[in-house]
Point group: C2
Chain length 438, copies 2
């Protein structure tokens, strides 16, 4: 590929679902877009079934069910993997790389789990793996992290990166509704999948923050070490209390340098959980299906990227931008990979266990209604070094009193020990909600 005279670029696209269809449409409608699109040919599109009706027109012979044939075709320069899922995506990507093809992918699941294997293979083969569409839909965030922001020492990347859960939380907030009702309605409206697990349990956001952490902090991330907690336990009661305290509840994906120092051998906290976000924080006003990624670093301070986190057009924009970037680099006929586009990390980042996190907590208790309970709570927290920012007896819940506590910064392990002790107290009925506070 490298070094040859530039003759235009042939794509082999794997997958013609929502994103694949959007990408084909965008690449076919070249007028009024970047002139470099003229150099791109959709040479093959691999699908599972030829019989399915398609929303795009392609010349005879372009659509094929022979996916292996695409990754082995010597005519093809770039394989655009838009199938999603772990296999056969991983195997096809690796074969394409072994055959010297560049990769464009929107597959956060495969990249977050097999990134190390895929990038190592790509570096050996001298090809690029581009993944702008894997996080934040159409929002340009991968390329800015690789290029524009890479002169910074990044201290944190914090994102609302899952549109489904942000849509559900936004509706719970504005309508005062329960999680289960909004989820059911979101499924009816197509904003949530029939099996919503990957979204509502935070796994999708976990994939994405693993990728962002890798780019922001310059090390590979072991996906299994990313702590993921979803939004099933968020209730309208907590949203209302949070609101009174000046917060909104958001599912945040956070990657944070927890060792004050330089990037190499950094100790990271990488996690997904519902979070109380101060109403004045830039992420607090990101509503509905929108995504936003806030990057903090030195010397830049805070920058935030906001936009549609999913959808045919937005994701197609990101996929096509990656293709364009590759075409521009191939056209310059370079003999080496461009180091701001290539995958540069060889080592794994060390990830701190969640018990080592230092954060504030919001906790709601249901207790017997007798006057000594708050004192007992305070004593037990004090014993474990948990200092309280506010304690509010918020009301009654049947026969039970409801107490909401917000702590100062505390090591999570210490806090959980205190909670275990408190949960065993006779006066404590239950602890329905525990959320971290930004």
């Amino acid at each position: 590929m490298l070094g040859a005279t530039f003759m235009g670029v042939k794509l082999g696209i794997l997958g013609l679902g929502t994103v694949g269809t959007g990408t084909v449409k965008l690449l076919q409608d070249k007028n009024g877009r970047h002139p470099l699109l003229q150099d791109i040919e959709i040479y093959r599109v691999g699908v599972r079934s030829l019989d399915k009706p398609r929303d795009v027109q392609l010349p005879e012979g372009v659509i094929t069910t022979d996916l292996e044939g695409i990754v082995n075709d010597p005519e093809i320069d770039i394989v655009v993997e838009l199938m999603g899922g772990l296999e056969p995506a991983r195997t096809l990507i690796l074969k394409a790389i072994a055959n010297g093809k560049h990769i464009v992918t929107a597959n956060k699941a495969a990249i977050s789990r097999f990134g190390a294997e895929i990038f190592t293979a790509a570096n050996q083969a001298g090809v690029y793996v581009m993944l702008e569409a894997s996080v934040g839909g159409g929002i340009p965030v991968i390329q800015p992290l690789k290029q524009s922001l890479s002169v910074n020492q990044i201290s944190a990347v914090t994102g609302i990166v899952n549109g489904t859960t942000n849509y559900i939380l936004t509706r719970m907030q504005t309508e005062g509704s329960d999680f289960a009702d909004v989820l059911a309605d979101a499924q009816k409206l197509g904003y949530a999948e029939a099996d919503p697990t990957a979204d509502v349990d935070g796994w999708d956001a976990g994939d994405k923050i693993a990728i962002l952490a890798s780019l922001g902090f310059g090390g590979r991330i072991n996906r299994e070490q990313v702590y993921c907690e979803g939004i099933r336990q968020v209730s309208k009661t907590d949203i209302a209390y949070a609101s009174k305290l000046g917060f909104v509840i958001k599912l945040l994906a956070i990657a944070q340098n927890v060792k004050n120092g330089h990037r190499d051998n950094s100790l990271l906290s990488v996690r997904v959980h519902p979070t109380l976000v101060p109403q004045t924080h830039p992420l607090a006003s990101i509503n509905g299906v929108y995504n936003a990624i806030l990057v903090e670093g030195e010397p830049i301070g805070q920058v935030m990227f906001f936009g549609p986190g999913a959808g045919e057009g937005a994701t197609a924009s990101a996929v096509s931008a990656d293709i364009l970037n590759l075409v521009a680099n191939l056209k310059t006929n370079h003999a080496h990979l461009n180091p701001t586009l290539a995958c540069r990390h060889q080592h794994y980042s060390e990830i701190a266990p969640i018990s080592e996190l230092v954060t504030r907590f919001y906790t709601r208790f249901l207790t017997e209604d007798h006057p000594g309970v708050i004192g007992q709570l305070g004593t037990c927290f004090g014993k474990h070094g948990v200092s309280l920012e506010s304690v509010v007896q918020t009301g009654f819940h049947g026969q039970l009193a409801e107490i909401v506590v917000v702590t100062h910064d505390v090591r999570e392990g210490d806090f959980r020990q205190a909670l275990a002790e408190i949960a065993a107290m006779p006066a404590i009925n239950s602890i329905p909600s525990i959320f971290r506070v930004l």
Copy 2:
């Protein structure tokens, strides 16, 4: 430069003010940042006076007052122009280009006025002109417009791109203060210049939107055709009325495709003016010295970039990112300019005169207090095809009644004609405020 074996890159920096100092500091502190920074050498720094105390340490002989010597030095690969102002910046940039040097600049004034001349020279010489720092401080927006978003048909670029005016308007809003008082205080605090004209009259924002329009819409912009209206006429009275109507007042810089069609031969509206922005709009919550740029296009929808619009560190981040990008491209030893980095526009965009703008208007009238006035206003507006969304008699102002009108979309020329007629009515005392509504 192109085609030679890569030996690291030598910089000649022109200017060691705030941005120059920040850039030198950042480039010297390579640890924990992109490894490519190791390939960069600060070879010369040109200053006006050697006697001024400096906040950075540089080896003997690096600092010089011989700016001509820098742009003519065959050792230097990249000239980083951080002097600002029109001359000698323009002449030095052109000489450096003629000598085959790549340019990185933060100079929005020179680029917005002399961009055509500079880019033509750069394309002839086969060098890059990089300008991320010229708009939005540290926010990556130039490079995303050139690369990630360039597969889109852009319909509008709308920005809060001047930190000083946004700081003033935010304080007027939150404190209910008058323009003159906040300006005086901002000057004391260093948020506004002693001569605040370039900021408060919208010229700085005009330079920036000219640059953004050029990148977003793929044509050169004649800076003199950019309509600029500043914030001097914004009063606390209008901010309060706007708030009641559901708006905040922001100084927006807007570039908009006003011909529904493709990018070539597009007709643009490019303008800067105080604007009533709906409180729910993403730009409404951008406060203080922060900047944000909202890009709308097909198929992406809306994406917004948010961050610090000025300051030593943020701007140094953008300048250094451009340098890094160049080094990455030079290192790949390419024989042609990368078309997603190079300047690609040859033609000028056609700019529509402000009288052709179709927009809503907010207008405040002071009138004699008699019952027929609203009817007279309505009749005159109707005659000119101006339809009204709301008319509110808001109160009294001494002996005079105060009437606030919001129109539906109207051609600005027609609206101004109606206003001229209304201003001549005996019942009309004055028209203190006229603002466009987003």
